[in-house]
Amino acid sequence: MALALAKTEALNARIARHSLQKGGWLGAARAGALARLGAMGMPVKRDEYWRYTDPSSLTVANAPIAALFDAGDEPPAYGAIDRLKITFVDGVFDPAASDDLTLSGVTIERLALAGKADIHWARDLFGLLEERGQTPVERPLATMSTAFATDGVLIRATGKVTKPISLIYEHKSETSDAILHHCIKVEQGADVTILENGPAAARLTMVMEVEVAEGGSFHHIRTQGRDHERRAATHIFARLASDALFKSFTVTANGRLTRNDVVVELIGHDAAAHIAGACVGDGDFHHDDTIFITHAGERCESRQVFKKVLKNGAVGVFQGKILVRQGAQKTDGYQISQALLLDDDSQFLAKPELEIYADDVKCSHGSTSGAIDDGALFYLRSRGVPLKEAQSLMVLAFLAEAIEEIHDEAIAEDVRERLRNWLVRHEK
């Protein structure tokens, strides 16, 4: 009882400064979410689901102050890529820094504007996938985003979208506390790529709901980082119909606290979901990937590839679960989580789970943790490669399997370049 009370009190404090927007189709969805949120309260460290990550800085009333960050001469992410830019500064849409939202094969709207209508396609998606994603474990921070998100984008892809849609999140206030919520609907046979980058705010709580219809493809590449002081709790909820493809890759460099939840349901048959992540952390860095994949249809494939490079006391967490429901025969589920600990102070905490109720399946998971292979390092040095360079080579080779999950080589190269720069800066 005491626990439930603490959760409720934390919730009341956390949402005190936010007001529930009423009216339109969105108002109804928000009211429903608030009711659900009230029953859950805020997460606490004692929750099994937060076993390895202390949620308190995500749930305290005010966002912990985060010093602004100067990236120096580092080029912005995806600089060389032709894309449609949509910019949010501390969670607020910035029209001056955004492109015109018209693009062939897709409609793009802002949540804050579209929510006022009585009828909208997003009504059948907004908050619904998030709600489905609440079992078997509650994710109250996602529900909070459904109830209180101030903005977001509603993207509906109806054909092959000609260039990536790039969501840029800037952080310009030390105390900003952003809540965003996006909905993306990929219609039958459509194909869209979403890019995300930037720290967004001192604290970010975000949800992205993705529905992929038959034969549709969704590609997602996210660059989180380099701001050190920021905190973020992000969620992706996806539902896939038959022959649909969902690919999501995240690179995280630094950040005091990052919790990335990805919840994917494979409803149709022959669908595929690939989720990958590469993270590099130095010092006061805590990074948590929590993945939950449900196979409900036959002959679906899922892959989870997560690699973490940690040093100077950085902590990497991976909680990944594959659930294969009865009848989801011929499932092919693969999951790998690996950590490279560059010194003795870093930690890797993992809980890779399988829950299987169908017999004709192939599921595997692997998890390893260790230091750089001395033998390989010695070999490189014997070939004249200096120590630092040899170490960097080994780190990039270690991360390669995750980066291979990016479908577009130009974007993959952008990610690699970012990691190379990080390694140079963090040689100490």
Partner: protein, 502 residues
């Protein structure tokens, strides 16, 4: 019946399904020994704890220890995190002590034990006789001798080869006897590995344990024979709460076997045991279990609820422990034999085969806690699910910051037979230094069709073929068992899977 609704998959004979129905509930050890019993009143209270203590003629300190545990237990709640479902257990609807009347006066030797009880063990195939060997007749080649402690409901009937073991300095007796005769050892070690407050079931056991085995191997001694305890639950509505304590002093070695069975009954019976192993410098304990409690019938009626806490503490440098378990019985299994690797260079190994058929539910695994430098652990777990059973591997590998250069390798494989069962893996991996290497692998698959086809093309029937493939799947674990057990376990694997094809 639920089985009739089983959907027949392509290529599976209707006949096979019928065989399944005919076979289900076939449990070799389900008979009962009719014998007059002496029960403590039903239910649990401080008085019952006092009664058990007085029945065992225990000193005051032991009673105080039990009472402390009982008071703690009253404040605890039953854990619910395991993937097992069972109706709420009424702890007042159990007998906590049951003793054959003929054991009222403790027999001086096994020769004086009620022949009915001896016959029970003969029927189970457990040798309680040592005459042949004592008379100087040579044992057939290859046959090794095993000393047995036979525990029947709440009491130990007696222990074989005591004199010969005593010559080597080995103490092997029931724990009730040890409390009286070796109080110093008991006081020093009991509860030192599994403390009274450890968990709900261990605390319950600390309060009401009625008997169990005690082993002490003196420094530098290799125990001259294998030691074994055979647990039999016979009385109805009776819980069995045994406690085993094994101490391997510096440089000693012992191999210990444990077996258990129970009669078929419609009601569930509770079994909550605690096993503590203390391993000092350079010592080694090999602990093997074949758990074959009554699993309940094909609809999940009856069967043993098996809630067991087993832990080994490698206190000395280079201490070594090896847990091997074959879990085929019990309606519910909740069991995580663990290793605390405290001593430098100590080693823990865990080999497990868990088979769940019909309505059985097993949630089992291990914990490897690496505290000392250069410690090593290895986990090989094979879970097999059939019928409507649920089988979960749950494990923890924890490498503490000071456990430099440690090594863990974990492999968990699950095999599903049929589309109504479940196989789950829940490993926790916590690595807190970088000089250690931790590897975890898990796979889930169905019985390989090609392998089955090959076996069948060689003239085997389907069940034989599945048993062979499964035995191959379990080979790594079976090889870790002592000889006598390996043979028994292999046939057990076959039995448990009888009728599960399809």
């Amino acid at each position: 019946m639920a089985m009739l609704e089983t959907e027949v998959r392509d290529g599976v004979d209707r006949e096979t399904i019928e065989t399944v129905q005919a076979m289900a509930g076939k449990y070799k050890y389900g008979w009962e020994t009719e014998i007059e019993m002496d029960y403590a009143p039903k239910g649990l209270s401080e008085d019952i704890v006092r009664l058990i203590s007085s029945k065992n003629e225990e000193p005051q300190w032991m009673l105080d220890w039990r009472l402390e545990a009982y008071r703690r237990w009253l404040k605890m709640t039953e854990p619910t995190w395991a993937m097992v479902n069972y109706p709420v257990i009424d702890y007042q609807d159990q007998y906590y002590y049951a003793k054959p009347k003929s054991m009222a006066v403790k027999p001086k030797s096994l020769d004086e034990v009620d022949p009915k009880l001896l016959a029970t063990y003969a029927k189970l195939g457990i040798p309680l006789k040592e005459q042949a060997l004592l008379a100087g007749v040579e044992a057939p080649e290859g046959e090794r001798r095993v000393a047995v402690d036979a525990v029947f409901d709440s009491v130990s009937l007696g222990t074989t080869f005591k004199a010969e073991l005593a010559k080597a300095g080995v103490i092997f007796c029931s724990i009730s006897e040890a409390i009286k005769e070796h109080p110093d050892l008991i006081r020093q070690y009991i509860g030192s590995v599994v403390p009274q407050s450890d968990n709900f079931f261990a605390t319950l056991n600390s309060a009401v344990f009625s008997d169990g085995s005690f082993v002490y191997i003196p420094p530098g001694t290799r125990c001259p024979m294998e030691l074994s305890t055979y647990f039999r639950i016979n009385a109805e509505n009776t819980g069995q709460f045994e406690r085993t304590l094994i101490i391997a002093d510096k440089g000693s070695y012992v191999s210990y076997l444990e077996g258990c069975t129970a009669p078929k009954r419609d009601t569930h019976q509770l079994h909550a045991a605690v096993v503590e192993l203390v391993i000092l410098e350079d010592a080694e304990i090999k602990y093997s279990t074949v758990q074959n409690w009554y699993p309940g019938d094909e609809n999940g009626k009856g069967g043993i609820y098996n809630f067991v806490t087993k832990r080994a503490d490698c206190r000395g440098d280079r201490a070594k422990v090896m847990w091997t378990q074959v879990e085929t019985g019990s309606a519910i299994t909740w069991k995580y034999p663990s290793c605390i690797l405290r001593g430098e260079g100590s080693q823990g190994e865990f080999y497990s085969i868990a088979i769940a058929n019909n309505a059985q539910q097993a949630d089992t695994g291990t914990k490897m806690i690496h505290l000392g430098k250069n410690t090593k652990s290895r986990i090989v777990s094979k879970g097999i699910s059939a019928g409507r059973a649920q089988n979960t591997y749950r494990g923890l590998v924890s490498i503490h910051p000071k456990a430099k250069n440690s090594r863990n390798y974990t492999q968990c494989d699950s095999l599903l037979i049929g589309d109504k069962c479940g196989a789950h893996t829940v490993p926790y991996i916590e690595v807190k230094n970088n000089s250690s290497r931790v590897e975890h692998e898990a796979t889930t698959s169905k019985v390989d069709e090609d392998q089955l086809f090959y076996c069948r093309s060689r003239g085997m029937d389907e069940e034989e073929a599945v048993a062979l493939v499964v035995n191959g799947f379990c080979k790594e674990v079976l090889q870790a068992l002592p000889m006598e057990f390996a043979m028994e376990a292999q046939s057990l694997v076959a039995i448990s899977l009888e009728g599960s094809v399809g």
